[in-house]
């Protein structure tokens, strides 16, 4: 198989004033599947990234009610976020269970389209494969555009996450005595985690608007509450424990003012969606959830890190792009799932979109009100990464499930006809508008 190309930038709708998306309502998600979650890989083949991904794909196909032969395209995020397995030797039982690719990490700490085709030969009609960087949010917008453009008709959209034993992210350049590449501008001063950037920005935000870190507590508490109503999530499956305001206020600092509960917890899990044309989706098992638009921000940072001005301008801009391309206003968004890992992102998105009328500086006031799924302002009904573990995917799943009426105990009392989700950082994020109706 030829190397799978990385999605070109031309597929992203990044510029402003592009107008209504040319494929508005003509692409739909027809299937959704996810594997069981685990805190870390136990190094058995049955719980590997590869095994999880096959489980997720089969569940998505079953959800859509189609056979593997109906799939003609793959959009896969090969990067699994956790520590790479190599240069450790491949476990013998894993090597016996799966067909390898040129990448020794494949199926363990990465997931290529090549691996999937080799290890799921029943995907026998795949003629199109593309990789998307970093994040399910990017794979979704790529797949939506691919199906809309007619490059493929029925596409699996795949994202796997891995988590090995050991301290998270204390590998690679972070373990060195030197600072090569981009690290030369950060590591000599001990600046290593994205969370530090958002800690800095929260301090700026609180100084500007007269708030404090502690006022985020109701949001964090509610995120876990929503997560504990998500049967697919890590905390529901393994640690069904609520977070209280007191827990949040007492948690240890990671990069003050960011504490343990402001960061998401890495887990191991895989996800798959079936994307297809609106016409085909009508004949599949589930009610179609239509895509009205996709929109993206690409990084524009002047110096070392984002400033509050840049974050506010970026989140204003992405909201304009979402509204412009979808033909909706903030008032039309029934379900709103902006990315929360780190939690410190969320107020910028909420205020940028002005969801439920929340303006700059008002997010923490909003969270002091009723943001439960039962109430009038069911913000972030997925529970996000905080509620269910680090994936950047729950937010999209929730939009689909809410519109289908399949969100279980998380189902919002409000109507759920139009939903918006997007990740990840304010200056680098991809957004999707989902709808019960194609027009």
């Amino acid at each position: 198989m030829a190397p799978t190309p990385l999605a070109p930038l031309s597929l992203y709708r990044e510029r402003e004033n592009l107008g209504i998306w040319e494929h508005r309502g003509k692409v739909a998600v027809a299937g959704l599947g996810c594997s069981p979650t685990a805190r870390r890989w136990d190094e058995t083949p049955e719980t590997s990234v590869g095994a999880n991904t096959i489980i997720a794909v089969n569940k998505a196909l079953e959800d859509a009610g189609i056979s593997p032969g109906a799939i003609d395209g793959l959009v896969v995020v090969p990067h699994c976020t956790g520590e790479p397995w190599a240069p450790r030797p491949i476990p013998e039982d894993f090597a016996q269970a799966y067909i390898p690719t040129d990448d020794p990490n494949d199926g363990i700490s990465s997931m290529s389209a090549d691996w999937l085709v080799k290890n799921m030969p029943e995907l026998s009609n795949v003629t199109f494969a593309m990789h998307a960087p970093t994040c399910m949010s990017k794979a979704i917008v790529v797949a939506a555009q691919i199906v809309g453009d007619g490059e493929a008709n029925t596409v699996l959209v795949v994202r796997a996450l891995n988590n090995l034993s050991g301290r998270y992210s204390q590998w690679g350049a972070n373990a060195l005595d030197t600072a090569p590449g981009r690290a030369q501008w950060t590591s000599p001063w001990g600046w290593s985690a994205a969370g530090a950037t958002y800690g800095y920005l929260l301090n700026k935000y609180c100084r500007k608007y007269g708030s404090s870190h502690d006022r985020m507590a109701p949001f964090i508490v509610n995120q876990r509450r929503n997560g504990l109503m998500n049967p697919d999530g890590f905390f529901y499956q393994h640690r069904p424990e609520a977070i209280t305001v007191e827990d949040y206020l007492a948690a240890r600092w990671l990069a003050k003012p960011m504490n343990l509960y402001d960061a998401d917890m890495p887990i191991q899990v895989s996800f798959a969606y079936v994307f297809t044309t609106a016409d085909r989706a009508k004949d599949m098992r589930q009610p179609p959830v239509y895509i009205l638009n996709h929109a993206s921000n690409v990084p524009k940072v002047r110096s070392n890190i984002q400033t509050l001005d840049e974050v506010e301008a970026s989140t204003d801009a992405i909201a304009r792009k979402v509204f412009d391309g979808s033909g909706i206003t903030a008032n039309d968004i029934d379900v709103f799932n902006p990315y929360d890992g780190f939690t410190l992102f969320t107020q910028y998105y909420l205020e940028g979109f002005q969801w439920h009328g929340v303006r700059r500086g008002e997010a923490h006031d909003f969270w002091a009100g009723d943001i439960t799924v039962e109430g009038p302002h069911p913000f972030s009904s997925s529970g996000g990464n905080t509620g269910s573990g680090r994936t950047r995917v729950w937010l999209h799943n929730d939009c689909i499930q809410q519109i289908r009426g399949q969100a279980g105990n998380r189902q919002v009392n409000n109507k759920a006809e139009i939903a918006v989700s997007g990740a990840y950082t304010p200056t680098d994020s991809c957004w999707t508008t989902w709808s019960k109706y194609p027009d």
Binding site: P188, W189, A255
Partner: protein
């Protein structure tokens, strides 16, 4: 602080050479009248490398804000926790930021908005000076 030692590359080499001479320089694109740091191979405004130069700056700035790192991902810094990291805005252009541990400033007692000046310190191994900042009283 046992700082990881920066490895200069083709673009950054003049910056680190100047640091070893205790001079702070940043890139400038004169036609765009735009300072740039960290250095890049092109000017972000005109997308050209043609006019990019290096310009020595005052080494004065202000503390924009800060965080206190309690759980560093950087192996060399784990023993130093908790430690300050401040964002310094350059006097000539507040859009240009530097990181600083503010040597001598107690943890979590950072005077936001205070004036600072550049100093140069050793990393974990000798041979490369690294710009740092101290509060001007």
């Amino acid at each position: 602080m046992p700082r990881p030692v920066p490895i200069p590359d083709e673009v950054s080499k003049p910056f680190w050479e100047a640091a070893n001479e205790r001079r702070l320089i940043v890139q400038i694109c004169p036609p765009c009248d735009l300072l740039q740091f960290p250095p890049e191979s092109i000017c972000p405004q005109c997308n050209s490398a043609e006019n990019l130069e290096w310009s020595e700056v005052s080494g004065r700035g202000t503390i924009d804000d800060y965080v206190v790192i309690h759980d560093s991902r950087l192996r060399l810094f784990v023993e130093e926790q908790p430690y300050n990291v401040a964002i310094i805005q350059l006097e000539e252009d507040p859009g240009i930021q530097f990181f600083s541990n503010l040597p001598g400033t107690p943890v979590d007692e950072v005077p936001v908005g205070a004036s600072v000046e550049v100093i140069f310190v050793e990393g974990a191994a000798p041979g490369q000076l690294i710009p740092e900042w101290r509060i001007v009283h």
